[in-house]
Symmetry: C2
Subunit: 445 residues, 2 copies
């Protein structure tokens, strides 16, 4: 299509760009006429992924004994922290002692929300309720997960963006801020296969987290280990240091709340979720939780335990997910590589797990790219969503969620995204030239 494949757009003449742009607009118009209707906005499992958990529906039937190992009838009220075998299963998944694990309902997001909500009204282990403080701040590694930011924004917590690197967030900045500002009460982390970049925190990063010296004694790390066993490859996996144990070793045993769920393992919305934390935090949580509920769905806990048997069963199950997801990620990555390599108008991450690929384009292009995709029938996550308050200051990041569409559709969508990226980037470069503004190349570092 273009005369010189892989030539940097930044090095093309105006004429070359104009010619390229015209060709691309023709292609874009063809896409528009095709009336695509694809959604890559959310990290939503596809039908084939849901199908592999259908055995969940058979594991309990009317002849089943619905008592758990200690004899408790799971059909009745009670057991605030979850049945023992569910705590063990989730503990194995989260790499935590079952005693340090509390099972909740169907959503780890709700646990995080409830944790912030409780801290606002009742403080943390006896501290001043956050709502009574003149200001409460959270550190937010960016790009990050929009629903995290949604919770903190809802409670009026001021969010401070912290840059993400391949190794995790900027620890120098975090150490400085956390140790000097007592109004900083927490940080949102997705430490493994991060949302949206798919980066995993390095050993050094986790160790520095565990050794933070917060000015606020009620500072907590919100460690959302959403993708802890969500690998794409069997032979290439990220491993991170277990944070609760590391904090304990570092003399900061109470500094972390860790969250996980089976939402992307069995059925999203019908799974079980858990928090792992220190005994002191757990006591604090249970003091509140006993007012909020008599107990979560134990039949569903039992269903999960019986379906997987144990953590090995769960790990095997995750390979089935990987087999479905891997080609989808690769398809997107291949098309982006084909279409964008060398053009210096963006790069994309190539994660080994999780649910997202993150694209970073030229400054001031993300919104327009997402908008153009939308107009041709492909819905991406709203540009800016990966930043606090929905504001990506340089308008560069786009989150790509390859899980839901079919591979064929994904290829179309990735192709369209590439076309839109090229169009919007050329327009931006030309606009910059007209305004005598330098265009900063965006290439993989």
């Amino acid at each position: 299509m273009c005369d010189e494949t892989n030539k940097s757009y930044l090095k093309m003449t105006d004429e070359e760009l104009q010619s390229e742009l015209e060709q691309l607009r023709t292609i874009y118009k063809k896409y528009q006429r095709r009336g695509l209707n694809l959604n890559m906005a959310r990290g939503k499992p596809c039908k084939e992924q849901l199908d592999i958990s259908m055995g969940m529906m058979d594991v309990l039937n009317s002849s089943s004994d619905l008592c758990c190992a200690d004899g408790t009838d799971c059909r009745n009220y009670g057991v605030l922290g979850g049945i023992d075998e569910a705590r063990e299963l989730m503990g194995d998944m989260m790499e935590n002692n079952p005693k340090d694990v509390l099972i909740y309902g169907n959503s780890s997001l709700s646990i995080m929300y409830d944790t912030i909500s409780r801290s606002m009204t009742h403080g943390v282990m006896g501290s001043t309720p956050w709502i009574q403080l003149p200001e409460v701040k959270f550190l937010c590694p960016v790009p990050g997960y929009d629903r995290h930011f949604g919770i903190t924004e809802y409670f009026g917590i001021k969010m401070i963006p912290v840059p993400m690197f391949h190794t995790g967030p900027d620890m120098d900045m975090i150490e400085d801020l956390v140790s000097s500002d007592p109004s900083i009460k927490g940080i949102w982390c997705v430490p493994k296969y991060s949302n949206p970049q798919g980066y995993s925190y390095s050993d050094e990063t986790v160790m520095r987290f565990a050794r933070l010296k917060p000015a606020a004694h009620d500072f907590r790390i919100f460690w959302d280990n959403a993708y802890c066993i969500h690998h794409l490859y069997e032979d290439k996996q990220d491993h991170i240091i277990e944070i609760i144990a590391e904090c304990k070793r570092a003399g900061n045993p109470d500094m972390v709340y860790k969250f996980a769920s089976t939402s992307k393992i069995t059925f999203p919305g019908s799974g079980i979720s858990a928090i792992a934390t220190s005994p002191n935090n757990m006591e604090d949580i249970e003091e509140q939780l006993k007012h909020q509920t008599i107990g979560y769905d134990k039949v569903n806990q039992l269903r999960h335990v019986r379906f997987f048997g144990d953590i090995h069963g769960m790990v095997e199950h995750m390979k089935l997910h990987a087999d479905i997801l891997r080609p989808k990620f690769e398809a997107v990555e291949d098309i982006l590589a084909e279409e964008l390599t060398g053009k210096e108008i963006g790069y994309w991450t190539k994660p080994l797990g999780g649910y997202f690929i993150c694209f970073k384009g030229l400054e001031g292009t993300a919104k327009k790219i997402v908008d153009q995709c939308k107009k041709a029938g492909v819905t991406l996550t709203k540009a800016g969503a990966t930043w606090p308050y929905g504001i990506d200051p340089k308008d560069q990041y786009i989150r790509i969620a390859p899980s839901f569409p079919s591979i064929e559709d994904l290829k179309e969508a990735a192709k369209l995204l590439s076309i839109c990226t090229r169009i919007v980037s050329i327009e931006k470069i030309m606009e910059n030239r007209k305004n005598n503004v330098e265009t900063v190349a965006v290439v993989e570092k």
Copy 2:
């Protein structure tokens, strides 16, 4: 056993009482030696009740289509307010328009907790967050439900007891307080087969509720319709006016939150719960709820819908519960009648539905009665639990929960309760006489 059955203890001589006491103590000691171990503390369904819902475990299997009527795959994320057919089923159960119903997780208690929590931090439909006010008060009809009082106490809300009559709470007092004190933000109500008395609000009571003129524009009635279809008899049922419609007719459309769940219909802890309220309140709720969750367990919603088919199926199912519960209630009532009639030391309610019988004894006896029962192996709800802060000022009320034990055990427990009541009452009467304090007879009004 006693010389003159049905003679009032208050009219007996000291000698008669002493003789009666000695006989009763002998019987009590026999109970102690038998080593009973029965629990009547909570409104917990018995095994036979759970068994009638075992069909729930078969209604979905791996061949089932888990899409709901509008085609949504219930296995995946989404549908914040619940699937349409669950809203219809719960709407039919609650006598509300499905559009006015939001489906939550497994616990209506959690909805109530979350509702208070949200009002504390974010106010109600734009009002000042309650936590920012110098004082927030709730009216608490007494005796009432301890978990309601637990929530308001946890949030530091001042609780004001309001006496309960056969017809519902003291509406004169409620009208006075609510219209004059803007710090009164809510009232806890269990309008049908109330916990613990089993009283149902009269038409006049509901109509007066709907016509309240609260000084606080963010005053809300917390209408916990926990026992809306939980009748004990088919031919004798209480009916109450539907409060949301009545409020709408009275020009107070936004004044009520109404709660219900299937906890005592299918499996406690594994059911579905719902709130019904006005469109304005619903908008207010959803603005918060979207941060707390992506959606509740839709597979379980579908399971409930498919199990019952429709409200008729649910009503038929409730007859099976009634057949199990009715003889239990009657057994307790019969024994209390045999043992206590005429003695003027207490009366008990005879509800047509719900989960509790409420016993009211002489002033200053409830704690000791519960304590003596405990020492002979029968655990009752803690005395005082039915009052805010756990303090029953005259120490008179005991909640009896007949659902869980077998009939044989129940009879033993009711007998023991009667013996303990008689012992403690005689001791109290004799103590009063010694101190020249009049003993006020407690008889059914």
